[in-house]
Amino acid sequence: MVMTTHEEKMRTVRFRVAATPHIVVNSDICRASCSIHACVYVCPANLFVPLDDGGILFNYEQCFECGTCYIACNQEGAIRWSYPDGGYGVTFRES
């Protein structure tokens, strides 16, 4: 089908999940000084979940490693990221 939900999109992508997260969100900073939560909207994999207390819950396992969250975040130090270990993470087959 042409129109798909986000879950259906994500099921077409292959991830080899590394043992340790390559992106770490410091929720204390989100709680203390962020009101816009840009990461929640821009992440193409929809991996950032806002919590009631203003914090951010993050799941690194289905990350495209695009870096958008880091660029969009306006809070110094809230998102720390690097690439996952060699051979791990997203593996595109056709794109």
Binding site: F15, R16, A19, R93
Partner: protein, 292 residues
């Protein structure tokens, strides 16, 4: 102590797509990986290896399987060997076990063979036992943990319905592992580079001194593979006239009520058979199809 580990390259389940029309695998979309249970077995073998011991990685498969043997070499095994022959058709557990046993005989029998208990693709879990049969060694399957002391393996096994058992066998032996997932260690850069172009010895049927008769194993034959087509079933739905509380209770019971049944009594045998078939149809055990 010399340990051999059997590795299989399997399709990553998240990349497997079956064409609904043809029932065939979309081959160009599949990515292969080291079978997770075998990855655990390999890492355990490396941890178990004593100072003067060796680990040999074996795989039966086409050239693509070299990738995972290189992975094993990079992680630190002493030796890798691949078994393949253009003559070979689709692999079945029995054939795989014959090839593995023959290879071990040619390259030197180890003291211990570790296998992942089940592969992510076929998953029959029979190779460890069949291999032990070929070698005439003891086998312990469904092993969750084990230790080796003084030439004996003491293994804990996971049995059906949560039962546990302990088995002790004399080495040499084959263990089929059903441990938790253990990740393979990360290879160092020098080892990764070294393994990248390391030659992987290939054992053909000729090298193993096997003839076509030797590959015959009186077992089942695969005639056809068909995609599963689930039958329509009657889903449980709560009684709409019941109170909310009763309906919640009904939903929570998932339709399971106490055993109930009806006796089919009287009438001719044909009528009795019809009554049973009707019952099965009504409850979704038989397709609601009227034979013409």
């Amino acid at each position: 102590m010399h340990i051999a580990v059997c590795l299989k390259h399997v399709p990553d389940p998240s990349t497997v797509e079956v064409d609904p029309l043809t029932g065939l695998l979309a081959e160009d979309r599949v990515l292969y990986m080291l079978n997770p249970a075998d990855e655990s077995a390999l890492e355990l073998a490396l941890r178990l290896r004593p100072a003067n011991g060796t680990v040999t990685a074996l795989s039966v498969g086409p050239i693509e399987a070299d990738a995972l043997l290189r992975e094993a070499l990079a992680a630190g095994v002493e030796r890798a060997a691949r078994v393949w022959d253009a003559e070979l058709g689709p692999l079945k557990p029995a054939l795989t076990s014959i090839l593995l046993a023959a290879t071990l005989r040619v390259i030197g029998l180890p003291d211990l063979v570790l296998c992942g208990g089940h592969s992510a693709d076929r998953g029959s879990g029979t190779v460890p036992a069949l291999l032990a049969e070929q070698l005439d060694w003891p086998a312990v399957t469904d092993v969750t943990r084990f230790e080796i002391t003084e030439g004996r393996a003491l293994a804990q096994r996971r049995l059906a319905r949560g039962a546990r058992a302990e088995s002790e066998v004399q080495l040499p032996a084959v263990l089929g592992l059903d441990t938790e997932r253990i990740r393979l260690r990360q290879a160092s850069l020098p080892k990764l580079m070294q393994a990248q172009h390391a030659p992987i010895p290939l054992y053909s049927l000729e090298a193993l001194d096997l003839s076509p008769q030797d590959l015959h194993f009186p077992a089942m034959t695969l005639h056809e593979v068909m995609p599963p087509r689930p039958r329509a079933r009657i889903m449980f739905a709560p009684d709409a006239t019941a109170s909310a509380q009763e309906r919640v209770a009904q939903i929570l019971s998932a339709g399971i009520a106490g055993k109930s049944g009806q006796k089919v009594e009287g009438g001719t045998p044909e009528q009795q058979a019809d009554a049973i078939i009707d019952f099965l149809r009504q409850h979704g055990f038989l397709e609601q199809r009227i034979a013409s």
